[in-house]
Amino acid sequence: MNATPVGNHIRRLRFDAGEMTQGALAERVGITRQTVIALEAGRYAPSLELAFRIAQAFGKEIGEVFFWKG
């Protein structure tokens, strides 16, 4: 789970969404705030289902939120 090859723009998207807090995002997608922290730090790669739910929370396509770092 350390240094996952899946990157994301969650932090920027939260900022763009009226500075949504990590807690608010966590509550919206049904995860703990600490998982949001791990995702933003690139320490955890979400399941496909969670990736879709996060993208949906921001009203984006999944490819606009997550990308492959390799």
């Binding site: 789970m1 807690g23 966590a26 509550e27 049904g30 703990t32 705030r33 998982t35 979400p46 969670l50």
Partner: protein, 206 residues
């Protein structure tokens, strides 16, 4: 950062006395079951600690998820049970009937039941939010794998010891002693699993 209520520090004293009563004092003193009293004191301190920690408002900066906090509690309780079993290893080896181990068994059962009740209360705390998600389940899978390996190694070690040691040197291995050795292997495996889970949580934060 919120200030930690000073009451939490005051709870260390009764918790330490409870631990001392369980581990260091003979199981009966003037007709009183000191193990049960110690376990009760320890559980009361843990319950009070849980209640006090619930009064600390969440300022959104805690790095530890509810799952990780639960693992810390589980690690402490399995560690206590393991330490209790080790401290009374001589009594386990010398016992010929289960009744002889009542003074040790009662606090162990009390700790187990108390831990389950405290964990259940912690999960149902009002405003506790999401308690576990897919990351916790992934950590649990990795922890279970470690626990499984430790248990398998311990069982093999016990089987080899019993199978290859000359009978004359196995006078300690009464059915009760072997049963408790297997229980200790289970506790050690659980302890290793909780430790592995905490290592995974810590790695996610590093």
């Amino acid at each position: 950062m919120h200030r930690v209520p000073s009451g939490l520090f005051w709870l260390l004293a009764p918790a330490a006395i409870g631990l001392w009563l369980i581990v260091a004092i003979p199981s009966r003193w003037h007709g009183i079951d000191t193990g049960a009293v110690g376990a009760g004191l320890l559980l009361a301190a843990a319950a009070a600690g849980l209640w006090l920690s619930g009064t600390i408002p969440d300022d959104g900066t805690s790095q530890r998820s509810p799952g990780e906090q639960g693992r810390w509690v589980a690690l402490v309780f399995t560690g206590l049970i393991g330490a209790l079993m080790l401290a009374h290893a001589g009594a386990f080896a010398g016992a010929r009937t289960i009744a002889e181990l009542g003074g040790i068994g009662r606090p162990v059962v009390m700790l187990l039941v108390g831990w389950l009740i405290l964990a259940s209360i912690a999960r149902r705390r009002p405003g506790a939010g999401v308690q576990a998600d897919e990351r916790d389940r992934e950590v649990a899978r990795a922890a279970d794998a470690v626990s499984h390996v430790v248990l398998a190694l311990a069982i093999v070690a016990i089987a080899v010891t019993l199978g290859l040691t000359p009978p004359a040197r196995l006078s300690w291995a009464s059915p009760i002693a072997v049963a408790n050795l297997l229980m200790f292997a289970l506790v050690a495996a659980a302890f290793a699993g909780h430790g592995a889970a905490l290592w995974h949580y810590r790695r996610d934060r590093a």
